[in-house]
Structures are given as structure tokens and as C-alpha cells.
Symmetry: C2
Subunit: 223 residues, 2 copies
Amino acid sequence: MANRTDALSRERIVATAVQMLDATGEEGLTFRALSAQLKTGAGAIYWHVANKSELLDAATDAVLAGATTVAEAAPEAEIRALALGLFDAIDVHPWLAGQLAQGPWKSEALRIFERLGQRVQALGVPAPAQFTSATALMIFIVGAAAQNAANASNAAKIRAAQPDASRTAMLAVESAAWEGLDPGDYPFLHDIAGQLREHDDREQFLAGVDLILAGIAALRPQA
Amino acid sequence: MANRTDALSRERIVATAVQMLDATGEEGLTFRALSAQLKTGAGAIYWHVANKSELLDAATDAVLAGATTVAEAAPEAEIRALALGLFDAIDVHPWLAGQLAQGPWKSEALRIFERLGQRVQALGVPAPAQFTSATALMIFIVGAAAQNAANASNAAKIRAAQPDASRTAMLAVESAAWEGLDPGDYPFLHDIAGQLREHDDREQFLAGVDLILAGIAALRPQA
DNA sequence: ACCTGAACACCGTTCAAGT
DNA sequence: ACCTGAACACCGTTCAAGT
């Protein structure tokens, strides 16, 4: 019968790759480990996939597809929903950050860029500024989510060695380090150490998106 | 005498690593190639440097130090100068992008974040919004420069196979691809294909920085 | 204290040989 | 057409042995 679970196919390879990426990150995805999981030889995978880079692209597309469908709303609200969708997708699949961080975006990532751009147009941004606006949004979203993913994987690594290191405990350590800096040399970090300790990642992310939206609003010709 | 050119030292290792990174990128920096260049064994390097990650950190700091000194000016102008300094540093050393893209920033990168934050404070941004503002700036700067670096290395790779592929020619190809998309599915990309073809990277980057600065200005209590 | 270079435990990718 | 698995050309890192 068609679609037997144990038949090797590009789909099954990509799906398994996504699972391994989620579990162990990009360096955990190995053709040896992958072929072991799939109970084949390494060479069998190369029949369906050109190389590791193409496999990562396929995994990225698989995860991004449908990760950012957005309910109809006002353009700003749709941009926030799109942003949050990407943020959450990267939170669940931290390896996505590395794939998206270095454009040029293609396939699914390009689709997201397109959707952001549509909302930028709907906001009434003048044509010459649309490219800048949509790019700024995409770069910030991907960059902020990448930071978040890096922090999370960092936390996971430390927790592996010291299992009781909670996220708040780690933030407290970094925050204390900033507080301990010489206020003469580091007045800013010294000042905001408290904000670092108490900040919520999602809230902080949305505040950043709103900051860019405010900048975009300033580009609009006054009605 | 002290500082003989052929004495192995952490400094000389890092300096040579930077040269190799600039020439061949991160995957070109190998302990074998590095030790060959330095005319030693691979193990000798490990006497001065813990591992490759630490070596990359040291190379990042070496390149970032002094790369972003900025003449005194109005806060906005200083932020633009800081941003442009980082942009240019990543342009010359594309491997920097990968190092900075995944914070938490440390040593020299943290210093740059501090300097950005000082200017945000000078702009009169209310305390609760300072963290968001400085972070948004840093993320955009690093993200945009990373895109640029990726495009450049992409261009270099294609040029290696097809030596007459100029940057403008490559942009024209991508632009034409966007123009060829179905305007029903991709109205935005179809529209801005022309802007992609004609845009100047530095100008586009500065426009993005100004966009965020405009958003930051909107945070300021009206005088 | 510092350096050597072989050795270990891995990689991605290829390819003759099988079915 | 698709799969097997050994082999190739690499990695980062370690470590006994040298000076």
C-alpha cells in the first residue's frame, strides 16, 4: 500500500530530521545518526536529498509551513501575530534561527517576508520606504528570536551540568554581573540590570515590534 | 628580545586566526591549517587557547576593539556612527556576524551595547523603555549586517564558479525572479522588485537605523 | 613551561556493489 | 530505481613523549 510508515521517502527523512534537530540541535543532526534512526545506510539518504544544506532547507520549510497563519485583523495586529508566530516557532525549533539569520530568504521564509510586506503596504507606507520597513521588521523578528533561542540553548547546556539552574536564577546571575560593573565605565548596563532580571521575553519582543511599528507609523504621510 | 615575530603566543595565534577567517571564513579556520601557518603542531595551539570557541571569541574581541570609536556628536548621530562602524566591521570580517548573532553579548560586543544604551539614555527615553530600545538597535544592526555579509559571501561563492557574475548582475537576477512571481500570490515582492535591484546596502541599512530611531523618538515624553 | 605529532572519535560525502 | 555499507578526506581534541 502507498505511504507505508517504513518506506523511505524524502518526507520521512525530513520529518525525522526535524525531530532530531528539535531534540539535539543542528550539530546533533548527523547522517550517521539519521540513517541509524531510519534503519538504512547513510548513502540511502543521499538518494533522496542532495546534501545536508538541502536537508536543513527542507526541514526549515517543513516547520515554517503553517506556523504563521494569521487571523484577519488590522494590519498592525496582523504584523504582531505574524511576528509572534515566528517567535514561537523559533522557540520550539531553536535551530530555525541559524537558518533564517542569513538570508536571502527563500520559499517559506520568503512567503513570510511577503506577508509582512503586504501589511506594511496596507499601513499606507509610501512605496520607497516599503522595502526598508518590511526588511527591518523581518530582521528584528528573526534576530530577536535568535537571541532568545541562543539564551534558551545556553540555559539548557548549563542545566545539563547543574540541574537546579533555573532561568530566573541564570538571569539573576547575569543581572548581578551588570550591577557589579563600574558605573563609571558602564552606566547604562549598571542602570538597566534590574530590567534584565525582571523582563519577560515575549513582552520584550512585542515591545520591540511595537517600537518598529511606531517608526513605520512616523513614515506615513500625515492625514 | 621580547616580542620576536616567530615566538608562539596567544596574540599571534589570534592575529593569524583573524587573517584566516577573513580569507576563508569560519569553516576555513582549522587547527590543522592554523598550526601549519604557524609552523607548529596542533597541540601547541591548545596550550594557549582552550578550544575553537574560545579562539573565535578572542578573534571577535580583537577585531571589535577600536572598530567602533565614535566622534562626539548628537546622540542620534553617534548611534548612526556606531551602527555604521559595526556594519563596516562585519563587511570586512563577515564571520563576525555569526559570532554576534547569538548573544548574550560579552566583552567587546557588550561594550558596544553599553555605548548604544548610553545614547539611548541621552535621547531622553524613559527608563522602562531603555532596555527595549537599545536591544532593538543592537539586534537590527547585527541582523542587517549579517544579511549583508551572507549576501556578500553568497556572491563570492557564485563568482568562484562564474567569475563574471557582478553584484549588480546577481541583484538583477533576484529582482527579475521577484518580478516574475504571480502578482496575485506575491503582490508585495512583485511591487518592490525594482527597489531590490537599485538599492544601496549602506543607504538601506542607515534607513533602517533611522526607522528605529524614529520609533524611539516616539517613546519620548512630548516636551 | 612549552612544543610535537601521532592517535582517537568523530564528520559529510562518494561509490562500487547489491536487489 | 533504490538501498547498502565500506572507504575517503577530512574535522576538533587529547596526550604521551620530547625539549
